[in-house]
């Protein structure tokens, strides 16, 4: 019923500018797949290539195992949801939803029926005769999705469709999108620059930067095992300690830093004697905890965030340290101005070569 999408060494140049280089990944049928990256990283270009609005300069796109070369957006089993939504402002909601069916020559009565079904699916029964301008942001969002689903696409392409909504609505729409995807079983490819959005909704995420694919993996995997320094810093918050690799043993690398000897899981491309960085998440740091790795810092501020608090400290070499402390344990936390020692386990840190 739904299709997989494969990209094989896709590249795209606009004149002399290289927007995307050598991107390969496979989206499984029925998967919720996100492409995450800062603006200008090439993620929208990838989406437009999959949709058929752009023909790639290199490589191939396969949808459901079929090569899409030369096919326009109207010939592909995809539907796109635009950042601006691009609803037709002068058509009532139901005509918007049934537009794709009108293009396929479906009779009016049937179009109306199908539009009403979709309105029911998105919980907007009875809104068919309104104009798009009369709807709220979230309602327009849902109409855009219904319009795309009306043509029964195998793959739905979403270009940051939530970016115009306010925070509360955005969070609500996340779960709604997620459940809609599960109910329809359509493959979703979702573009976003918001890492929490990507992590919360997706089965798998591709991280891009400067037109290059950095890593593809499940949200947990990206968070726990970043493959590149970019992924380590872009996905979630992290502390960075620079040093030199003195040993690699059993997948654990030892780094000599100004804060002493620290250990973490070794990433790809490490070599003894080379400079490297150690990445450790704020929540992996335990005040007065046990473990071979220790970092000492003077606490400068503690920001209470509700479920946890973030302690900002200054390391001896002037670097910054952020540690997350569960609210339930705040009673034992160091206070501002105090020197505190934080420990972390080897498995909770990653060592990657310098860029």
């Amino acid at each position: 019923m739904s299709h997989s999408v494969e990209l094989h060494s896709v590249g795209m140049s606009f004149g002399r500018t290289r927007a995307v280089s050598d991107v390969s990944f496979t989206v499984e049928a029925g998967e919720f797949f996100s492409i995450l990256g800062p603006s200008g990283c090439g993620k929208t270009t990838i989406l437009r290539i999959v949709a058929g609005f752009l023909q790639p300069t290199d490589g191939a796109v396969l949808i459901g195992g079929q090569d899409m070369a030369g096919l326009g957006p109207d010939q592909r089993p995809t539907a796109m949801i635009f950042q601006s939504l691009a609803l037709f402002p002068l058509m009532p909601v139901w005509e918007n939803i049934a537009f794709g069916l009108e293009a396929r020559g479906v009779a009016k009565a049937e179009r109306r029926k199908k539009a009403d079904e979709l309105l029911h699916l998105i919980a907007l029964d009875g809104y068919g005769d309104r104009m798009p301008g009369e709807l709220s942001g979230g309602q327009r969002q849902r109409v855009a999705i219904a319009r795309a689903l009306a043509v029964e696409p195998q793959v739905l392409l979403l270009d940051e469709p939530l970016s115009a909504l306010d925070l509360k609505l955005r969070q609500h729409m996340r779960s709604e999108l997620r459940s809609l995807q599960k109910r329809t079983g359509v493959t979703f490819i979702y573009i976003t620059h918001d890492q929490s959005e990507a992590l919360a909704m997706s089965d798998r995420v591709a991280v891009m930067s400067d037109g290059i694919l950095q890593q593809v993996g499940a949200p947990r995997e990206l968070y726990d095992n970043p493959a590149t320094p970019f992924v380590a810093t872009f996905v979630g918050e992290t502390n960075i300690i620079a040093g030199e690799v003195s040993a690699i043993d059993n997948g654990i690398a030892t780094v000599e830093s100004t804060h002493g000897r620290l250990r973490g899981r070794a990433g790809d491309g490490l070599a003894v004697g080379k400079t490297a960085r150690l990445y450790v998440r704020p929540e992996a740091l335990e005040p007065d905890g046990n473990g071979g790795n220790r970092l000492t810092a003077e606490i400068e501020s503690i920001d209470f965030e509700g479920a946890f608090a973030l302690a900002h400290g200054r390391l001896d070499d002037g670097g910054e340290l952020v540690a997350s402390i569960a609210s339930t344990r705040l009673g034992h936390a160091p206070s501002i101005g105090e020197r505190a020692s934080f420990a972390f386990a080897d498995v909770n840190a990653v060592v990657l070569p310098d860029d």
């Binding site: 058929g52 609005f53 957006p73 109207d74 796109m80 691009a86 609803l87 293009a103």
Partner: protein, 265 residues
């Protein structure tokens, strides 16, 4: 209030009075002359109040004939200028920077050409092809520059068009024709209505171009201008008065509707 402000207020007050007197006094006098029993349209001396010139207007078959000619011309002008003006605007917005400014200059050039020259050039071309002046040439000559106005108005509207709508439609499987008919054309509709209205006005009001290509046909403006030589009577004023009245009523209606819409939000 200081002295400078007072001087400014006085200046603007005097200026506005003079300006609007200049603007409306000729029209008021022309309108008032309709009711004067004098054979030549004037208000001095007043020779008695009469409504006879309205019936004279009613009886003036030449006037009605010329009005009909103008209406026919205007009808065909609209038919010609709307498609071509729209096509020109679409072509213009599909061009890239340099080609666009060149085409733009070419397309506005008829606006910068004196009306008599447009009439003359059309006349000599078609005489060479064996076609003399008349409604056909009036339509062609008027259209050649009225298209510019349509092009400018449609292009202005197109600038506010969100082109992702086109992509969305194509992505949903619409043919290029359907994109044009269902998405672009409805968006352009207000501009096309306004442009059509302006085209009718421009066509009916035109004199300089029409004069040269009219042949033996006599549109309204030509008829009125000839009357000045052959014997002007206040029947013409009656016509002018009716047109002014219609305009003022139209203007007031427009303003009332505008304010109501504004209040409605």
């Amino acid at each position: 209030m200081n002295a400078a402000d007072r001087i400014r207020k006085a200046f603007f007050g005097f200026y506005f009075a003079a300006f609007f007197l200049y603007l409306f006094a000729p029209l008021a006098i022309m309108g008032a002359a309709t009711f004067n029993a004098s054979r030549f349209p004037t208000v001095t001396p007043w020779q008695g109040t009469t409504l006879q010139w309205f019936s004279a207007l009613w009886a003036d078959t030449g006037m009605w004939q010329s009005l009909w000619t103008s209406a026919v011309v205007a009808f065909f002008v609209v038919l010609v200028v709307l498609p071509i003006g729209t096509a020109a605007a679409l072509l213009l917005t599909s061009l890239h920077a340099r080609a666009r400014s060149f085409m733009y200059a070419v397309m506005v050039s008829p606006l910068l050409t004196p009306g008599v020259v447009i009439g003359i050039s059309t006349l000599v071309l078609w005489r060479q092809l064996g076609v003399g002046g008349g409604v056909f040439l009036i339509v062609l000559a008027q259209s050649s520059f009225i298209i510019c106005y349509v092009m400018l108005m449609v292009a202005a509207r197109l600038q506010r068009f969100d082109r992702t709508q086109e992509e969305a439609a194509v992505g949903l499987g619409a043919s290029k024709f359907m994109v044009f008919r269902r998405v672009i054309l409805p968006f352009l509709k207000p501009a096309l209505l306004a442009a059509g209205f302006l085209a009718v006005l421009q066509s009916i009001e035109n004199y300089n171009t029409t004069l040269f290509v009219r042949g033996f046909d006599t549109p309204l403006t030509v008829y009125i201008a000839t009357k000045v030589r052959t014997g002007l009577t206040p029947a013409v004023n009656a016509l002018a008065l009716i047109m002014i009245a219609v305009t003022i009523i139209g203007a007031i209606t427009y303003e009332v509707v505008r304010r109501r819409n504004q209040r409605a939000g």
